[in-house]
Structures are given as C-alpha cells and as structure tokens.
Symmetry: C3
Subunit: 411 residues, 3 copies
C-alpha cells in the first residue's frame, strides 16, 4: 500500500511521519483504500463476459473495474519510485502515471476508433485541469479561506500546458488552410509537433527532477524518510510493488479490451455519441484514483500536491501519451494524426487559459474552484448536444465530411 501520496509527474515529499494518526487518516482515500471494494468488479466483469452479458453491461462493469486497478498501478509505481530514489523513480512515476489511459487508448487506436482516442485525450486533459483541479480548489476552499501554493511550479506547469494546447492548435489551423488535399503533409506536421511535445516533456523532467528539484520539494520536506518501511525492508517485500504493478497492469489490459470493445454498444444504448463517452466517461474512469488523492490533499491544505497532481497528470497526457499514441499508430496501416476537432481544441485552449489564470497568483479560493467546474459543465453540455454525425465526421471517422467539420480558422 502506498505510504505517502506523491504527485505523479513531480514527486513531492509529504509529511506523514510527524502527526499522530487521527480519524482523518482513516478516511484518506488511498490509506483506507476505499477503492479496494471496487476490485470486486474485476471478477464480475470477467463473469459477465463468460456469461455473454450485453455490451452496455460489460461497458459499465469494466469501466468501474478499471478505477481501483488504476489506483493500484499508481500505488505500486509510487512505492517503487520511493525505493529507486527521485531520479529513476521520478521517471518511472512520470511514465506509468497514466498507464490506464495509455492502455485504453492503445486498444481504441488499433480498433480504428481514432475519434475515441482523441476524445479521451481531450477528456483527460480537461478533466485534470477543470474537474480535478476545480474539485480540489472547491473542497479545499470550503475548509480554508485562502490557500497558497508555489507560483513558480504552477506557472511552469501551466505555461507548458499552453505549449501543449498550441501543439493541438497548429495542425488544426493547418488543416483549415490546406483542406483535404495534402494528407501526407499533415501527417508530417503532426509527427514534427509530436517530437516537439516529447522534447518539452523530457525538458520538463530535467527541470523538475534535476535542475530545479527543490521547487517541487519545498522546505526540507523531502528528508522525512522514516526508513523504507517494513514492507519494502528486505527479502520478498521488495518485490511486492513490482508484482503488484505487473498484475494490476495485466488486469487493466484485460478490462480495457472489454471496455473498448463495448464502447459502440454502450453509447448507442444510452443515446450518447462515442465522442461524448470518450471525453467524459473514459477520461473520468482512468483518472479516478488521482482525483480522490488531489481532493484529499487540498482539504488538508497541501495545495502544492493537489495542484501538482492535476497539472502533472494533464501534462503527461498532452506531452507524453498523445505523442506516444501517434508514434505507435505508425504500426497500423494508416497512421493517426494530431488533428483534433474544433470543439476539442477550443476546450483544451480555454481550459488551459483559465487554469493558468487561476493558478498564476499562487492563491486560490472556493469560487475559483467553482468556476473551473462550471466551465467543465458548459463544455460537457456542448459535447453532449453535438450530433453524432458532426462529432464523428469531425474526428475523422467519416473522411468525406472531414473538411466540413475540422477547425477552419482559415476559410
């Protein structure tokens, strides 16, 4: 079990050692493991599959099953990274932090559901910076009048998000200018943008793990290591996180395969578009564990961690998961590009800008959290009302109508 919750992208210390355990510690979502009971959905999903349950049921069961599994991956990663030290550990954390989203998206990618892949990338980004950060600021702000966090760290993170949003904007504008005629140029541009995003990601790791580590480990909090703990102390315990990581990843793969295979049936059953399901359902499922940690940290007034988790996770999706998916798509017959729909681009741009505005003064209050949630709600409504035909055409599933719907700031 994870002993201390750590920011996914920017491992920060916590100070669990000093305080005597109080009732509050038992409600800590990770410690008390309130997600554990949801693991029962894993066998339930498998059973339902064997029985031949209808698609929508399988979709719901597998979605819920992924929530605690993603949490376990997170815990195992953190335990491992604690042992391996901040350098390799941070890298590990950064790589596996969004393993569930990556796995789900891979399945969607190789099922040709490019629209769902892009929708879930978009959904993960705006989910992290609007829903997770918003809920954190609101929950924290209801207990604390004003909360403060490190401006520089939040500033660097949010400026990087602007770079990522810009990386999504450029291919869209390009597509608006050149239309359908030169798909190969669009793919080359997407590839080039992906290289730039990955480079930004690598540089951010160097910044947060090497040159400016202390920004993310304020005031000596780093040195609270009370021994590696009894579990990891010696012998078989050392292998516990490795095994946990492998097993939970394997189950996420299994569940994801079921989830992606039933997206179509499920979205038809409830009358929502696949894009809406991708943006909201899949994205929320993959991030639930981090969400609860961030909110919990905010309520304990540890805003650096709360902000770090949400921004860090969004950065990882935008600068690491998205380029990896584009690179991997070259194993398919036809590669995926980075061309998002106008609504997706607008959603990410607005989310990034407003998150930056909220973060830039290093202070937060409940109203700022509520604003982020309201913008998430407005975006949700827009995606909800978007007709299937437009939503899918816009995502490249119906190439003929592509030029119609894709962002055309130009034209």
């Amino acid at each position: 079990m994870a002993r201390k919750p750590v920011d996914v992208a920017n491992p920060s210390g916590s100070k669990p050692g000093g305080d005597p355990p109080s009732w509050r510690d038992w409600v800590d979502p990770r410690r008390a493991g309130w997600l554990r009971p949801l693991l029962l959905f894993v066998p339930a999903t498998i059973l339902a599959r064997l029985v031949g349950a209808p698609g929508p049921w399988l979709f719901v069961l597998s979605a819920v099953a992924i929530i605690p599994l993603a949490g376990l991956i997170g815990e195992a990663t953190e335990e491992l990274s604690d042992e391996l030290g901040p350098g390799i550990g941070g890298l590990l954390n950064a790589t596996f932090g969004n393993a569930a989203e990556l796995i789900i998206s891979m399945f969607a990618l190789f099922n040709g559901l490019d629209g769902v892949v892009k929708a879930s990338l978009t959904g993960s980004i705006i989910g992290n910076i609007l829903l997770v950060l918003g809920a954190s600021l609101l929950a924290g702000g209801m207990k604390h009048r004003v909360q403060r966090f490190n401006r520089t760290a939040a500033g660097v993170g949010s400026t990087l998000m602007v770079l990522a949003a810009f990386g999504m904007l450029v291919p869209a504008i390009f597509h608006g200018l050149v239309g359908e005629k030169v798909a190969h140029l669009e793919h080359e541009l997407s590839l080039a943008v992906c290289v730039a995003l990955m480079l930004a990601y690598a540089l951010n790791l160097v910044f947060s793990l090497v040159t400016h580590r202390d920004l993310y480990n304020p005031k000596g909090e780093e040195k609270h290591e009370d021994g590696p703990g009894d579990l990891a102390g010696d012998g078989p315990g050392r292998w516990r996180p490795v095994i946990l990581l492998l097993v939970s990843t394997a189950f996420v793969v299994w569940m994801s395969e079921i989830l992606v295979g039933t997206v179509e049936a499920a979205s038809e059953a409830v009358g929502m578009t696949q894009v809406f399901v991708g943006v909201f359902v899949v994205a929320i499922v993959g991030n639930a564990a981090e969400h609860s940690t961030a909110v919990w940290m905010a309520m304990k007034d540890r805003m650096d961690l709360a902000v770090g988790i949400s921004l860090g996770s969004a950065l990882q999706i935008a600068l690491f998961v998205a380029p990896v998916l584009v690179f991997v798509s070259y194993l398919r017959a036809e590669p995926m590009d980075l061309l998002f729909t106008p609504l997706e681009v607008a959603a990410v741009v607005v989310a990034v800008l407003i998150a930056r505005m909220v973060a830039e003064d290093g202070e937060s209050n409940w109203l700022e959290g509520a604003m982020l949630l309201l913008i998430y709600a407005i975006l949700g409504m827009a995606f909800f009302f978007l007709p299937e035909s437009v939503a899918e055409a816009a995502d490249g599933l119906a190439p003929a109508a592509h030029g119609q719907a894709a962002v055309g700031v130009g034209r």
Copy 2:
C-alpha cells in the same frame, strides 16, 4: 441623493465622513448632480412625441433623457441598500444595477430586434471593461504615477469575465460545427449555458457578500456609518428612495419604448447599422452614470472602487442580464439564443483578456488606460465599417444568410 458612491456589484464602503467638504466634492458627478439638468430631456422627449417629431429626433432626445434617469435608479438603489444592510442591499444593488440596459433590451427583445439586443449586451460589456475602465485608468494615471488596487478582487472579477466570454464562445463554435440543421439543439445549449452563467453570478454574490466580504471592504472602511442620515432617519424620508426608484424606473420604461421604436429610423438617418447603434450608442447611454462615477473615483486614487464599478457592471451584464433576456425570450413565439456574431465574440474575448492583463498585477498607469481606449477605438472602427447586410445577417435577422456569417471556427 446618494451620500456615498458604491460599487454596483460589490458594495464597498467609502470614507466621505472624515474629510471636510472641499471644492472637489462639488464637482463629484453624483453629489453635485451634473446629470440633473439632463432630466429636462424627459419632458422634451414627451413633448416631441406628442408633436410627432421625426424618429431620429426622438431617438436622440430619449437617449439623452435615459442618462440621468439611469443615474437616479442607481442612487435610489444605493440608498435603499445602505438601509437594508449589506446582505439584501447588495442583492438589490446587484439586481437593479443595470436596470436601464435591462429595460431597453426587453423592448428590443419584444420588437424582434435580437440583433440590437445582442449588440447592446456586447456593447455594454466592452464599454464597461474598455471604455469605463480605460478612461478611469487614464484619468487616474494622469494625476497619480502608479495606482494600486486589490489584486485578488480584480483577479476573481476578471476570471469570471473569462468564464462569461467562454459562455458566448461555446454556442458560436457549436453553431459553426452543426450549421443550420439543428436549431433546437442550439436553443437547448444556449439555455444550459445561461443556467451556468446565472449560477456563476449567484456564487459570485455569495463570495463577495458572504464568504469573502472583506476583500471588497478593505481595512475597516466598512464601519464609517455616520447614522443612516437625516433623510432616511424616520417617517416619510424612509420612503424617498423607494418612490424615487419606482418613478425613475417608470420613466426609463417610457423613454426606452421611444428609443427602441426609433432605432431603425435613427440608424438609417445617420447611415450607421443598427448593430453599431446597439453596440455603441445604446450601451453608452445606459452606463453613463456609472462611467462618470468610476472616472471620478480613479482621479481620487480610489482604484478599488473604480475597478469594481467597471468590472462589476460588466459581470452583471454578462452573467445576469444576458441569461435573464434569454429566459424571458421564451415568452415570445420564438426564443432568442446566445449566438453572437464572430466580431462580437472576438470583441468580448479580446476585451476580457486585455482587461485581465492590465488588472492582474494590481497596479495601473496612464498608458494601460490609453491602451484599453485604443482597443475600444479599433473595435469601434470594425463595427462601423461592417456592412449592414453582414451585420444583420450575423445577428439572425436574416436567417437565410445565417450560416454565412455566424462564428465558424469550425469551417
């Protein structure tokens, strides 16, 4: 007569008690009531109507007549809210603060002039955050080298404006994506966005009147109450503001009816589009009283009030007046939506972003004020040169050409 000028949306205290009255006090636009003589335009308008004067004359007379009436509504509201205490008083202030704009827009709404309604909403928003704030910063900055104000209050206000601008942007993008086909979906989306905007408005009231009141009432300025004053002391005086409110509102209704009825004739006579008249003329008329107060406060280096008046009024238009008009439009045969023209959306987005940039450091100088005014001028020129056909089509008056002109970031 209002004894202390109070920020419309965020009632803040002032400190008139201590200072001995100086010549400056007599030039205070509200105290000395320089707007009072303009009340003569009320009987003049009525007379002109009876005589059957041509439309353009009636337009000008009624426009000028509304300026002092709007000022009287503001004064009566403030007096009442002083007596009723910050809770209900603040609410009253917040509701009646832009009564004149609301009444004018209602008449335009039921005359089917949706384009003028939207144009005057846009005009009020950009007028408050570019013209009023710009003039305040310029006037104040010419007397004081650097002026300071509360960053947090200005920051929350300007972030809320971004939310409002975003509420205008989403329906426009949606329209660009789905085109003409699904008008009912657009109306549902508009309605949903309006609910979110109203919710944001309500939350802002809770924030500024309840949980974070002191942000808007710095350093004990709140407790300067030197008694409710002789006028309101007892007996008939108590009723003075109520009667003033009712009477001036009634006259605004009358004048507005004349104003809206002659918009078409007036815009034809001077060769300007109705949209231009809506964005600039109507918007300036409805806000003139607040304008002079804000500039006056800035010259006295009371920047918190000056910034509060302009941002507060813009917020009220965007988060309260606009949704109310959409809700009320459901009493018509066909409801109004929140679909603004691209130029309107761009104007509001740019105005909001630049106002936020100017406000975010809690400092201002004359050059920042001049920049806001220059941007207002550039926008004015763009609206001025826009041909009638495009301007009106874009506002939904010519449904056939609708898809041509409405915002289509997507296509």
Copy 3:
C-alpha cells in the same frame, strides 16, 4: 564603436564604466565586433552582381552582408542618441532601430511582393519574442538558476504587443465576415487600425522616455556618463556616427535591393515558399545584431536589457514599421492592407500570449526559454509544410483564391 549596448526602443543605461575589462568583454559581440568580418560579404555581393552570379547565390551573399550592416546602423544610432540625450536620442533609436527591416520591406512592397512583406513583418515579430527572447532566457538560465527583471516594464511591453496582435486580428476577422465584396472598406479599416497602432507607439515613447523613464533606467544606472567619450568629444569625431549611419544605410539599401530581387529565384532553388523565406530567413537576417546583444546581456544576468531589446524590437515592428509600410503603400497603384494569413495571425497571437505568460512574474529560468524556442520550432514547421499555393493565395498574391484562405473565424 558603440560604447554601451542600449535597448533599442527603451534606451536603458548600462554600467560598463566600473568593471575592469575582462576576457569576457572581448567576446561581447558588439565590442569585439565579431560581426565585422561579415562586412566582407558586401564587396563580395557587389562583385557577384557584376559577374552576373545566379539568383540564389546573390540572395545568400546579400543576406549575410546585411547582418553586419544592420549592426553598424544600430551602433551609429546609439552613439548619436547618447549625444543627443534621452529625448531626441530615444526617438532616433526608436525610429532607426529596425531600419534594415524597413528598407528590405520597402523594396518588397514596391516589387508587389505583399506576401513577403507581411511574412517578414510576422517573422520579425515572432523572431524577436520567441527566438531572441527564448535564446536569451535559455542562455541566461543555464548560467543563473533564476533571473529577475522589471515586471512593470515587461508587463507594459507585452500588453502593448497584445494590442498589436489584436490590430492584426481585427482586419482578418472583418475579412472573414465580409469576404471579397468590399475591398475599399477593408482598406479603410486597415488604415484606421494603422493610425491606432502608430498612436500606441507614440504613447509608448512618451511613457518610456518621459513620464515613466525610471522604470527603464533602474537605480541610478542612468548617471554613469563618463563624458561623451574621446570620439565624440570635439571636431570631426562628432560627425563619425552621422557618417557611419548614412553610409551603412546606403549599403543596406543596395543589398536589400539585391536580396528582394532574388527572393523568388532563391526560394524556388531550395524548394521553400516565399512566405517561409520571408518569415524566417529575411526576419532573422534583419535582427541578427540585436539577437546577439540580447543573448549576451542575458548571460551577464542583465535581464532588463535582454527582455527590453527583444520586446522593444518586436513592438517597433508591429506598431511602427507595419503602419509605415501601409501608409507608404498608398504611393503605389494599389495600397497594401493589414490582412495577414490565418497562420500568421495565429503565430503572432500565440507568441504574444506565451511571451506574456513567461514575462509576467518578472522571473525566468532555462525551461521558459526552451519553451519559447520549441514554439518557434513548431511554427517554423507549420510554415515550412504549408504548400506554396495556399501560402501565396493567403497573402493576396492570388486574389481569386483570397476568400478561401484568409482568416474566417466567421464561416
């Protein structure tokens, strides 16, 4: 030789007097004059022209020759402005600061290469705020952990850049709304916007040279004048900078004529579009001297100068050079407008926003510099992949396709 490097638009003092000369001073690009040897390219270009060398060769030779000449103009201007005092000197600096770009653009303008003119304006702006500022922050940040600069000066500069970006955006939106039909209205709007931009420029000069001079001359650095120096002391020395200015300007005119005359041949030879050549090659050539100074200043941790040079130069292009070119174009048969392509507008808007985000906290680190460079790279790729047909149509060279490609947020 220039004794102290001074910010182009906002002349700031430096403190060369006190320090004993060290090896570092000899590497100062301006002092040691590493650009001097490049002057050999001037006779080489002339020789090649006489010999009748092919276009691409002439292009490269004249491009390189302009680099040291632009540096000489800068030095002469600074020397003159030192003598003339901050008032007239500042004005001189501000006017001649981008003389090379202005001259090159003039030739392109009268050769009807409007696309190249606009591309080089765009390129100069984004080059200054992404490439120059990015390289400065990166180089400085690799030597210094955190670097600080004057927030207010950087804030005013970047807000003015937003105004300039907005001045580019409005004609583009207007064009998207009205289409091809009303070219005369577009020209009137462009002209009006140009007047507003020039006014902003003039106000900025008043702000930085008169009312808020000390912002740009921190802490008494201004009074280090160790006499006007031996060169300028008396007699013929006084004329040295004037002669230097005239001669180097004359050669820039000559080289520019050759450069512009061979743009077409050169871009064909290397298979790049004229727009790409304009945005990147021409823009970099004209600014090389300033670039090296800014990076050098950043490495010496004199961030106010480094930031001032890059922002000041970008401002000058946007608020002075661009309007001047539009005004001058009325001497042609058909004037040039301010209608930029969507990609150009997006590039400037994004560059301005991200530069502002980086600058607003008055602190910088290497990662922020790297981010600016990455965004420059992404933009470079987008311009590189843009097909010739689209790039040129978008710039008005192919009027028939104009409506297709110009920014149409509306439609």
